[in-house]
Point group: C2
Chain length 579, copies 2
């Protein structure tokens, strides 16, 4: 028992036993390749989060190791992502002025809060909460987020500070400041973008034509952003870029991340409270994205996935990120694919990646001071394509206008207001849509299919009905928000057919009757009785019947309960004496 709990929380206790040479090669290769991809992204996304570049490496080292010990997916890894970084910057920027120690500490607190939210959701098995981010809302939000991220990088690319919180502020400041663009900065950024796009599109083909083995070509293509950074650092040194007005990263501390709890304790409680809602939203989004990536990978590889273990592992990774001075992190589809394609076999690949990144933090940092900011902006921009999901807008428009409306509303609110409000608007729109739908349940008048015991909708089938009998099927559980709809429908049917003397509710799809619905049904029964109409129920499910027995409804019911709708109609089809 105790051992099973331990190995539930730390699946490493299970897979480490069978670990051997068979896995080592693949895991090491995958770790090396993903490190090449991760270093530039980590630095760029740290800047996107408003944090010192080196914290991007910190956000990957300890968290990746923690995650590897706790996760159930063999190829997923946590790390900085563009969307979470820009959300972190927006949420923290709303309560603390950017660019100081307070901003760094508050970002770390946000990461801890995101982690705690994930751990709590995992412990309470509340993963379902995260699903209130519906797919159209998430797609609308991520697409708008991608555009906002692109806007936030334009300033670095042009070498002028631009507003980037919302689309209108960006447009206004772009119009006002575009003329001040710094030519050399723009040239450096544009050249970096071109180099990375060319490498990604045609690099592999060109290298294999040069008779370079495919495996080596693949690694070189993935290292392209890192090579561009190296080249840019070299050029910046050679031509003294800072003196020519090109903004560079500047001095950054060398070394490994340490446990830094003291700065977190300086963050006031009111700030923590203001971060709770953003933390919850980031946690929900992180979980939904992570699970969809992990599920598609597990299916492709024929592996089992434990969603609760994933939630816990990502929660612990975020807490670790916060405690080592970094910011909120999540799973990346691109990096996960790279690990899988490079032969990653077990979570140990994450441990090796953590070691390689620690070496990078120790050895590379002195070189980074000359890295132009425009190159980091270029790294961000070329990775944004996967966020812009225009196809989903078209698909949802065709499939469901209501879903499209929720998506469009989220997109517009995110672009024009801010990331947190946009996502909140989307969640509320999804909920409102769901409530509207479930408070208008499908109710069908049913009649007998001749020669059978089946009862079907009179509008769709040729069925037998009786003028003094009304058979109604409600296709939903009865609860406070929809029971009035049923009541109104019965009133309307009775008004249209005054001959009705018996109403039979077919309860095939009624899985629950809550206290409000029970009260309305009781009142309805009394009202119908005063009009000389009896109320009957048929096909009531076991649990619903058990509960009705605990109320006085069955004693007050003017009619009967029938096992099947057919039995009810058989018993009641003789015209009443007063008809």
């Amino acid at each position: 028992m105790a051992e099973s709990v331990w190995s539930d929380w730390f699946p490493v206790l299970r897979w480490a036993r069978g670990y051997g040479r068979g896995q080592l090669g693949g895991d090491l290769t995958a770790a090396a390749v993903v490190t090449l991809l991760l270093i530039p992204q980590a630095l760029a996304y740290a800047v996107l989060a408003g944090m010192p570049p080196v914290t991007g490496l910190y956000a990957s080292i300890v968290p990746m190791a923690v995650y590897a010990l706790m996760c159930s997916s063999n190829v997923l890894g946590p790390g900085p992502t563009a969307l979470r970084s820009v959300m972190s910057a927006a949420a923290v920027g709303a309560v603390v002025t950017p660019g100081g120690d307070a901003f760094i500490a508050t970002s770390a607190v946000l990461a801890v809060l995101v982690g705690v939210a994930l751990l709590v959701m995992g412990a309470l098995r509340m993963g379902f909460m995260a699903h209130f981010l519906s797919q159209p809302v998430l797609a609308g939000f991520i697409t708008a987020g991608g555009l906002l991220i692109a806007m936030s990088q334009v300033g670095h690319l042009l070498g002028v500070p631009l507003a980037s919180g919302d689309a209108l502020a960006f447009a206004r400041s772009l119009i006002a400041r575009a003329g001040d663009a710094h030519g050399l900065t723009l040239a450096v950024g544009a050249a970096s973008i071109v180099a990375m796009v060319v490498a990604r599109r045609w690099g592999r083909m060109a290298l294999t034509r040069l008779a370079i083995p495919a495996a080596v070509a693949d690694v070189l293509v993935k290292a392209a952003p890192l090579l561009v950074m190296a080249a840019a650092i070299g050029a910046a040194h050679a031509f003294d870029a800072p003196a020519r007005g090109v903004a560079v990263v500047g001095d950054i501390p060398r070394g490994l991340p340490g446990l830094s709890v003291a700065p977190l304790l300086t963050v006031p409680w009111t700030t923590v409270q203001a971060l709770l809602l953003p933390a919850l939203l980031i946690a929900a989004m992180t979980f939904v994205e992570q699970i969809s990536i992990a599920q598609s990978m597990a299916a492709r590889r024929g592996e089992r996935l434990d969603a609760n273990a994933e939630m816990r592992a990502m929660g612990a990774a975020n807490v670790a990120a916060g405690l080592t001075g970094a910011f909120a992190i999540g799973a990346s589809f691109a990096r996960t694919t790279v690990v899988a394609e490079s032969g990653g076999r077990t979570p140990a690949a994450g441990l090796y990646t953590a070691v390689l990144l620690a070496l990078a933090a120790l050895l590379l940092t002195p070189w980074l001071r000359a890295l132009p900011m425009a190159v980091l902006a270029a790294v961000v921009l070329v990775s944004l394509g996967s966020l812009l999901d225009w196809a989903s807008f078209r698909r949802n428009w065709h499939y469901s206008r209501a879903d499209f409306a929720a998506q469009a509303l989220t997109f517009v609110a995110t672009l024009l207001v801010d990331l947190v409000s946009g996502l909140m608007v989307g969640v509320l729109a999804s909920l409102a849509l769901h409530l509207w739908r479930s408070s208008h349940p499908h109710i069908a008048v049913v009649g007998n299919v001749a020669g059978t015991e089946h009862y079907r909708n009179v509008r769709r089938h040729d069925v037998i009905t009786h003028p003094h009998l009304l058979g109604l099927r409600v296709d939903e559980s009865l609860f406070f928000a929809n029971v009035h709809h049923l009541e109104q429908r019965i009133d309307a049917e009775l008004a249209a057919q005054p001959a009705i003397r018996d109403v039979i509710l077919q309860c095939t799809a009624v899985n629950d009757i809550d206290a409000s619905a029970l009260q309305v049904l009781t009142a309805l029964n009394d009202r119908l009785r005063q009009r000389g109409v009896r109320l009957h129920l048929s096909e009531v499910k076991g649990p619903v019947m058990d509960r009705l027995r605990r109320s006085d409804f069955l004693q007050r019911l003017s009619g009967h309960i029938y096992l099947t709708h057919h039995q009810a109609v058989q018993a009641l089809r003789a015209p009443p004496p007063d008809a």
Copy 2:
């Protein structure tokens, strides 16, 4: 067409044509009796709302006339109610200091907002929104509201100012100040309560024993509070109550309410914004109460009710209340019963009541200045019994613990925090409960009932299944919050029974598949295909099928769509070649 719209909005255009002597007698009697009851309540509830007593009459004159022209119920009438008054006092008191012109103007603005909310809900046919106040939440709220109202009157009764916003503040100030109680004030209040309770309980019996005709006795009993007030005014004059320290109403303006828009325009926009949420909640509560009263009356009298007309009429009445300097109003069950019992036949009774109240405002006001406040408190206290619904707590505890929890939470939050927060907590608790339930739909593995074409839950019935076939019935529409539950269930079933090659979803109860659910089903289909498992659907409803045709799901589906679940099992029951 145009005429029908006019008479939809103003049903008076329909009923006025047939109006004659037959209705006049009953309507006039009802108007006279309800006026006797309404005058003391109007004055008392105005004080409860923190408003000058005369505004209680204003709140009934023009609003009652407006309502009579627009309503569809023959016996309902709008006017001050204890619960709305205390909610108005709490909402307005949260933004404006009580006891000045700003408080009066802001209360009037709140009434206008409540009215506009009702009119908008009526116009958009959003009456269903009001039903998100579930019955247990409403009962919990009203009971706590009744207690808070009682607490608010204790100060007037003891002649010392007490805090009354929440139960704890009240308890603390009662303990601190109870010793300062003013004996004579308490005696006046206690005597009034005793007189009114005695009159209500035994008055009719005593009067008929004195050979007074039953009809006259009834009217006298209903006039008891008014008679108590008259006696108190007489006694206060005779013994110069103010000089002896008994608080009295004091000078109040004489005359009719006028259109007073100018003071409303002085209320700042930020105040209006702060009142929006309270206004929405009061509007929703007003509508739910009004409809439940109107429906039970219409059923008892065999009349038809137009819920939208009721909502519009109550909306217009509240706007009229605000524009004539009064506060938010609603329907009262007690007064409605009185109108029905005294022979009210048409909404014209409301018009006559308005005229009688106008006369009262003109003629009675000079007498009111000597009325002790403690008597008004007594009027409020004896009317509170109907609000305290302890039976519903016991009933819900037995019927549904979840409903009971929502009720208890609302009750406690209302008592300990405040009225608006309490109601909000209740609405959110109801919604959370609904979302939790609908995101955990009932899913049954189904098998064939031998010798029939019926398929039933394998856990409850003795049915035939096949090891390579999994038949699942989902008893709810598939949407973003519950589709993951289905996915996890299928994964669990496949893990438990690796022989499964075909999964058939019986879609009998699936009335809708939203875009998120479609995406998950598509991904699930792809995942199952990779494991060599086919996905089939059976008994898909027409509208759902139409929509699926507008996506690429049917092209990607690895299995087939079957008209009935039985056809699916017949087609697939032969073991697959690889089994």
